[in-house]
């Protein structure tokens, strides 16, 4: 009974979502940047999924007889010092970089949202305690926090995702908390509380769906930064380890051959740039469409 009443009190989720989507879709289609970003991201995701079809050569197979070959029809992006096909490594790297980006952002948004929901909804002592911890975390710039965590956990691709993910938590927690502070004063939340809906249900079923837009915008924009941070940490040797075809790692592997084999470091860098560019365009576009007030 309480559930039914609360559902009525809250904006009718299904119908609301449909009308909102119908309203947003044409605006999204008209936004050139958003569409370009979406095309880039979908294209990269398809490459990542069908990597074995796009680049059938084994990305970690060593062939010293084919080392340091410049770009040519047999090796579009040339070969590295071990004779590995750079095109194949860049294509396979797409799945690694996108996975790292998605998982790290998922960790940051999930933990950040939970913490922000609890702090914002309960307020008072709980809020004060949580926000002090968040303030301490914010005293460390993101990359330094990630460095600290990697130094504790040890360098590996898995630890890299955890480190970059945790480093993003305070940002999302603060965002969600401030959104909750506004949303919890709305009448539908009060109605749900009055009729006795349990607090976890209020948080997840009623509050969360109504603050999801800023989280999506922040997560998309945060994805670009996350991919750059992860590539940077792998570049300095604190992320993925050889022979994984990770873009940041590939750039560092080509450093010593820059004079004679520029292609080893150049193409993975271009790949990172296109990916982050696409994600940023998508994030900017989503922000313009979902929340035009935030436009810069």
């Amino acid at each position: 009974m309480a559930e039914t009443l609360a559902s009525r009190a809250a904006p009718a989720a299904g119908a609301h979502a449909r009308t909102r989507w119908q309203m947003l879709a044409p605006r999204m289609r008209r936004h050139k940047g958003l569409m370009v970003g979406l095309v880039i991201v979908v294209f990269l995701a398809l490459i990542a999924v069908f990597r074995d079809v796009v680049a059938p050569q084994n990305p970690i197979k060593i062939d010293v007889t084919a080392a340091l070959q410049s770009p040519e029809p047999a090796h579009w992006f040339g070969t590295d010092q071990y004779g590995r096909d750079v095109f194949s490594r860049v294509v396979h790297g797409a799945s690694i970089s996108l996975t790292v980006g998605v998982i790290a952002v998922a960790i940051a948004t999930t933990v950040g949202t939970m913490v922000g929901l609890v702090a914002g909804y309960y307020g008072r002592a709980v809020d004060a305690l949580i926000m002090r911890i968040i303030d301490f975390m914010l005293a460390f710039p993101g990359i330094l926090l990630a460095l600290g965590i990697v130094s504790v956990l040890g360098p590996s691709l898995q630890n890299l995702m955890i480190a970059v993910g945790i480093a993003g938590v305070p940002f999302y927690a603060r965002l969600v908390r401030s959104t909750v502070l506004v949303a919890k004063e709305q009448l539908y939340i009060e109605a749900a509380r009055v009729i006795g809906v349990p607090i976890p249900v209020i948080l997840v079923r009623h509050l969360l769906p109504n603050i999801v837009a800023p989280i999506i915008i922040a997560a998309t924009l945060g994805m670009g930064i996350t991919i750059l941070q992860a590539a940077g940490l792998s570049f300095v040797g604190l992320g993925s380890q050889p022979p994984t075809p990770e873009w940041g790692r590939m750039i560092t592997e080509g450093r010593d051959y820059l004079r004679d084999a520029w292609w080893i470091s150049t193409f993975p860098g271009v790949a990172i740039m296109i990916t982050v560019f696409g994600v940023n365009l998508l994030g900017d576009g989503l922000r313009d469409v979902l929340d035009p007030r935030l436009r810069i």
Binding site: R132, F136, F140, L144, V236, G237, I251, R259, G269, M273
Partner: protein, 307 residues
Amino acid sequence: MIRYISARLLATVPVVFGVTIAVFSMLYLIPGDPVKMMLSEFQTSPEQIARMRAQLHLNDPFFVQYGRFVWNGLHGNLGTSIRDNRPVTQEIFEVFPQTVQLAVAALVLASALGLALGILAALRQNSWLDIGSMMVATLGISMPSFWLALILILIFSLHFELLPAAGGGDLPHLIMPAVALGLGAAAIIARLTRSSMLDILRTEFVTTARAKGLRGRTVVLRHALHNALIPTITIFGLQFATLLTGTVFIETVFGRPGLGRLVVEAILNKDFPLVQGSVLIFALAYVVVNLVVDIVYAVVDPRIRYQ
């Protein structure tokens, strides 16, 4: 104003306390025995491990160790580096000025470029200059700084042989690292300056200034820019802090001595006292920069003080 500054200073105290706790706790968060991890690459006997534990005072209770860490830190003693057997503070302060020099150079470059691009784009809104510069800015934000650094080395050191590829010290050694580090920040500053300028150019006082018959340049420089810069100052501060930590990648590429390179090498060498010391100094520098930015912000915009 003095009240605002003292309140802001006081608010920094718990943050600094939290930073020291976090940095100190790193040792406790290592899975397994930290001493064994630090010495994993050496042939060690149980006696050596025991000696190391005693040297690091790891057998004392947590708060005794923490108290000693803070007390020694206040007296300029952050322990001894395991690899080089030298005082951590000495290792840090030998290279820290170079990191600050690089971050300041990058910030100057980023501010000059970002402000110029942002103002031009706002004044010519929706022109090709505007669209083009904002596309370049989005690309600039998307570019990994360490990759840009390598491309600069490829072009200006290896191809044209104009600038040195590695090392530190004089101005020629500073140009490429500052450009590689500063371009991303320039892009962010350009975007923010543009949007801030656009907002201000639509306000009534700018219309009034124009209606009074003031020259376009006077309206832009004297009236609009002054106000448009206020929100940008926060970004300068945040960017400076980001640039400080961005040196982690740039110093590694250019083989420049600095705190960024020191911390990476310390982590790779599992030299924990040095990791703790350099992370602590980075974090404290970040806190100080944020404090200075807040105070400057309050000086520039009196409304902040009354909030």
